[in-house]
Symmetry: C2
Subunit: 343 residues, 2 copies
DNA sequence: GATCAGGATGGGAGCGTTCCCAAATAAAAC
DNA sequence: GTTTTATTTGGGAACGCTCCCATCCTGATC
């Protein structure tokens, strides 16, 4: 008696059963579930009660079969360069994404895709309607993936400015240039006059922009010695670049590294060369990663609002999902110089 | 002519269209798609050609509607304690998971769930058939979530030994005790005789087991001074604990910290107290995180095979998915002492 | 009192699969 | 030549939902 009839073995109640329990039609029950307004208050309550009583949960598969939406967003991590992002990066980004997505019915799907075969899988997921939109992080060079996904019919949001300007694909990025500029200006204001920089790879927007920031900061300043050495964001490259810089100018009194890892490498090389940080040479990094709080002296670094980047990424996608015609522009988020002991 | 008739606006071909193109029935086409053997070679080829020609991709929604499977695994990150895992942890674990999953039709769904409300959402996803299985990482205390999920009808795999032994839920963990034991034995063999440890939180299995390893290593050894101070895996707690230890025994010559972060804190405190590492005091950490390679001196640490843990986690779930009755036992993976400069 | 408008409702028609059973065919056994 | 058995095949019937159209009220308007 108290036991409600259920279809099949699966204990899950269907919309039909809810409708019966509430003494309305399937149609009306559906309207309630989907928040349609054209339902009498009386029916509304009856259905809501029935839903609660039976513990009804809509079947997503049946729903997407007819709506042709999946309510799923795919997060693709294209991480062939292992250490491109400083460490808390991934977790924080995902945290921001989740936050923003949690107020929507959207699910987050995760995929690591380095190989071309896996890239194909991404497109396939778009084509078979398994995902409604795609978020790409850590793309390198000018990957054709974003364009392909758009062609397959799903909106895309990118993390990090792509190298070649892909028309309609919006992205989120930190203001790398301004972050670097602020850091270098800070060094200048501290009275440093032989300011070197260790660059990131020059085939990545972040690498390019941070170098541009360094140049912009010193533009027009007289009496400043400029020194540039190439790095690849990795610690070893920072160490090597620093040795190179010291050879070129033993008197240098400041180093701005385009990543914390390289800054850590720089400090190690400086110490090996008998320089004290920050007394002889000031060092500033970029990323404000965990690492920055764990070097000795603690590293002054440029911080990016990673979690907020995640949120903006989600917003960008949601907007496109709501209005496929929406024209979106890139979102550039401000960076901040976090002063610690190294400069 | 060359243009195939398509249903509706959506350009996606259906199984029906494939069948027509191949001159077979829908049933036969389905059998081919699902790799059934009872298909004549002739029909097999015709269907395969048709699939290729039309670019057919199965509609996952329709499929799960009837099979009642979603081919989706949910990864729940229950991360209220922010820094429980050192950073490469998350990425590496996910990498291992993806590797293992990539040979199956399983998708990976990601969810951050700290609040009870979000935990409810996990259960809901299980109940509405949106996910077939759940992987939980970073659970604290004796969360009822795993049990609830099992009750909701989906298999679960846990990362890290749960505090209260939950009957049928298998887990993957590193051999924390043996890792700690190895580290402390190493210190002993180096001639250290006043060996301290900084513990992790004692309401987490990892914290308890690592302390047990410390104790086991020194059991029965005579002439060794034992010193225990409590920490919480965080850097600050390592620093504080070290000061405390130095006060208790200014002569201590070794510290085994249950996390790299605490080890880094310890080194800072030791340096502040005028001790040299490793000359005066040897330090060993646990996790072999990025940090370990970036301290000065570089930290000797116990490494866990995180990526493999991810793979085992996936295997555990896949096995249960294949055979719901399967009785699985925990998987304990070996740890390894990575010797660097600090000990 | 008849007509009309508009909101609320009921239920049929799919959505694209898989599952299953019956039918057809081919091969083997008697 | 006939019966039995194995192998392939075809297509109806769900799966649980949303969409849409026809119907039914209720009350206002002429």
């Amino acid at each position: 008696m108290s036991e409600v009839r259920r279809s099949r073995a699966s204990g899950r109640p269907t919309l039909e059963q809810v409708a019966i329990e509430a003494n309305v039609s399937r149609g009306t029950a559906s309207r309630v579930v989907n928040g349609s307004l054209e339902v009498s208050p009386w029916a509304l309550k009856a259905v809501q009660d029935a839903i609660r009583k039976l513990g009804y949960v809509p079947n997503q598969a049946a729903r997407s079969l007819v709506t042709r939406r999946s309510d799923t967003v795919l997060l693709v991590v294209s991480e062939s360069e292992d250490r491109v992002f400083g460490e808390p990066f991934f977790v924080n980004l995902v945290r921001g994404l989740s936050q923003e997505l949690s107020s929507t019915p959207l699910q987050l799907n995760l995929m690591m895709a380095n190989t071309a075969r896996q890239h194909g899988k991404v497109e396939q997921q778009v084509r078979n309607g398994h995902v409604d939109g795609v978020i790409l992080i850590s793309l390198h060079g000018d990957d054709p993936l974003p364009t392909n996904i758009v062609a397959a019919g799903a909106p895309v949001a990118l993390n990090g400015r792509p190298m070649s300007d892909i028309g309609a694909v919006p992205y989120v990025d930190a203001d790398n240039e301004s972050g670097a500029r602020t850091a270098v200006e800070y060094l200048y204001r501290q009275g440093r006059r032989r300011i070197a920089t260790i660059t990131g790879p020059q085939d990545m927007a972040a690498g390019i922009d941070r170098l541009a920031g360094y140049r912009a900061a010193l533009r027009g300043k007289r009496g400043v010695t400029r020194l540039v050495a190439a790095g690849d964001f990795g610690q070893a490259s920072g160490e090597a670049a620093t040795r190179e810089l010291l050879a070129k100018d033993p008197e240098l009194d400041a180093v701005f590294a385009a990543s914390d890892l390289m800054a850590a490498g720089a400090m190690k090389a400086l110490r090996a060369a008998g320089r004290r940080v920050p007394d002889d040479v000031a060092v500033i990094g970029f990323d404000d990663s965990d690492l920055a709080r764990n070097t000795d002296p603690m590293l002054t670094s440029v911080s990016q609002p990673i979690q907020q980047m995640g949120r903006e990424l989600a917003k960008l996608l949601i907007t496109q999902l709501r209005d496929p015609e929406a024209k979106l522009s890139p979102v550039i988020l401000p960076t901040e110089l976090v002063c610690r002991e190294s400069a």
